[in-house]
Symmetry: none
Subunit: 209 residues, 4 copies
């Protein structure tokens, strides 16, 4: 017999995830000591490790959450739009999100992405667990491109998979760029270049904006 409602349990879990995301983003995986997780989450070791087996599992849960959100966003708006959103939100620090309180902070998102990449390099076991998530994003991108091409909005002289990889390359580049806190500068116009390169075989004229 659960002493608290399932809803409360889920809320607790989300609270832990949110705090953990912030912590991992700010300090990195190793830098996010259990002590700091406690402080950020507002619960103690016992509570945290009651919900997640260990630090690794907690991190994986955070990362999978982010990945799921991203898959959905890509499927609905496309990778380019994801990048533009990223840019907008990075532009206004601390600006309250317009998609609800569950929307992960952009800094947290970026940080988590980078931490994932680090663990992919150094931890083969993690890589295995993560492969499915990664493919889900790629698949969502390809499917959307497929729909877009059918609508005539995507150049047809290049394989879809190549275009998808091109967009992923740009996305990865943005993640790294923003996560390193480098200046935003003309990133908006850079994204214009990216979009045109996907749209028109000729690259075409720059859209006026």
């Amino acid at each position: 017999v659960p002493r608290v409602s399932a809803a409360q349990l889920k809320a607790r879990r989300l609270r832990i995830l949110a705090g953990a995301r912030a912590c991992f983003a700010r300090y990195g995986y190793e830098g996010a000591t259990v002590r700091r997780l406690e402080d950020e989450v507002g619960l103690s070791r016992g509570a945290i490790f009651h919900h997640f087996r260990d630090k690794e599992s907690l991190f994986l849960a955070v990362a999978e959450d982010d990945a799921a959100v991203m898959v959905e966003t890509v499927a609905r708006h496309g990778l380019v739009q994801v990048m533009r959103d990223l840019l907008d939100r990075a532009d206004t620090t601390g600006k309250p999100s317009d998609e609800g309180p569950n929307e992960p902070e952009v800094a947290g998102w970026l940080g988590t992405q980078l931490e994932v990449s680090r663990r992919l390099r150094t931890d083969p076991a993690f890589a295995t667990r993560w492969a499915a998530r990664s493919e889900a994003i790629a698949s969502a991108t390809r499917q959307r491109l497929h729909r877009q091409r059918a609508a005539g909005a995507v150049r047809s002289d290049v394989d879809l998979s190549v275009l998808a990889q091109f967009l992923e390359l740009a996305y990865d580049g943005m993640v790294l760029h923003l996560a390193m806190g480098r200046p935003l500068a003309d990133l908006g116009r850079v994204l214009d270049l990216v979009e045109i390169a996907v749209r028109h075989p000729a690259g075409g004229p720059l859209r006026d904006s």
Copy 2:
């Protein structure tokens, strides 16, 4: 009175840097424990920390070395070529470099780049020290683009700085992509897209390769 010649000292220093680069790349900064550094380098704590004040300094030296090599390469061959080289070398693991024994392993290079990005996020002091290196690469890219445009090989309807940022975005994307060990797949054709987007306002036909 130096016990060993300056040449030997420099060689020793390079040996430490090489081992450290491999270690940082394989295990990440925190994962590269002193024990592992000893094993990889083949020297003892005492020797290593005689040449470098502490682990942080050692890492910084590795990163600055890589940055210097990269600045030079960009100035000579351009960022696109750097990316193609990256791709070629990533294609054949363990293949002996054709630029001499001092050429850093590509895996080491990539890993270092990512570790730099992590520390940039989490360590403001490091960010300050690194800013100059970062700008040097950007500057080299801009200067080369300037020369290329004068030669008519670069589109003239877009600001150079935007094109430079576009290339840097693609480069960052490649670093992240490769460092995460993701499949190379059609990355070569993706780079073609990148190159064309920089070259011709009209995008033009894909070069046959």
Copy 3:
């Protein structure tokens, strides 16, 4: 919700202090390695440093405990009596104390005193924190002398503060003498001299004992 009662916590703390005192006394501050502290206390690093921030704090707690006991003893029985007790207890090693189990072993006391003196010399920050404790002992000595003089048991041709310093000098001397493990020999009769010098302007005849 405390897992253990406050009493148990306090007991644990005292157990750590007792072991630490023995360790510091036997090996000195630097010689009292964490490993030895573990062995002596019977608890692990984790437990010890859960109660005390670091080795320094643990040592300070031991020293302050000893100082508090000494202030009280001086106030009740006077410095001369403290010295005689010291002598008696040094005479019979391992003899169970007659003042309860919390009474610090004399060897521990002495060793701590000497370690305090070392840190006073080498660590100005420690000196500042310790000044108050030192003055408390001096003050207790002066107050007791004041009462004794009123009772006619102390010579009146010398300033009280000088007499107090004389006694402190003798006390310091005893600490050093005993801590160095030098022979006790006629120390009892030496203390007679000290006492007489404080009591009678003329030094007077030796009391028969």
Copy 4:
């Protein structure tokens, strides 16, 4: 065939001893790292360890030097005078000594004494090596008292050995007091008390000074 004169060798040795004494006094035995000894002495490890087998031997040499000076001073002027000198010199910090450049700084002397006491407690082997030096000082004190009594300057109703121990007690007290950097205050008048207690059975009037 010595490549340098014996005098130069001795000078080098003295230079090392002087620097080491300062270092041991300022930082304590453990705190006097080889690095600091190098800095203070102005020579490197190799040079230092060429003249002294290891740190322990160096410390012992410093201590024995000090002890020898003290034996001589006690024999010539008596322990009370040694204490008064100590006091005078402690009174004027940095005052150039009037007994030549080989006269150890008072701070160094005191620090060494205390370090000796620490090692006596914690290192039985050291205690054995030191016993002879300790007895030499005591012997010098007794012999001088013997001569003084013959001259009628010392009370005759107390055993000489007790008086000697009394003086040693006071001396040890001064060492501890001064080494701890406590205020000098009325220490001069305290020494008057000590002297009178040794001189006259009746104590007698305080000398005017």
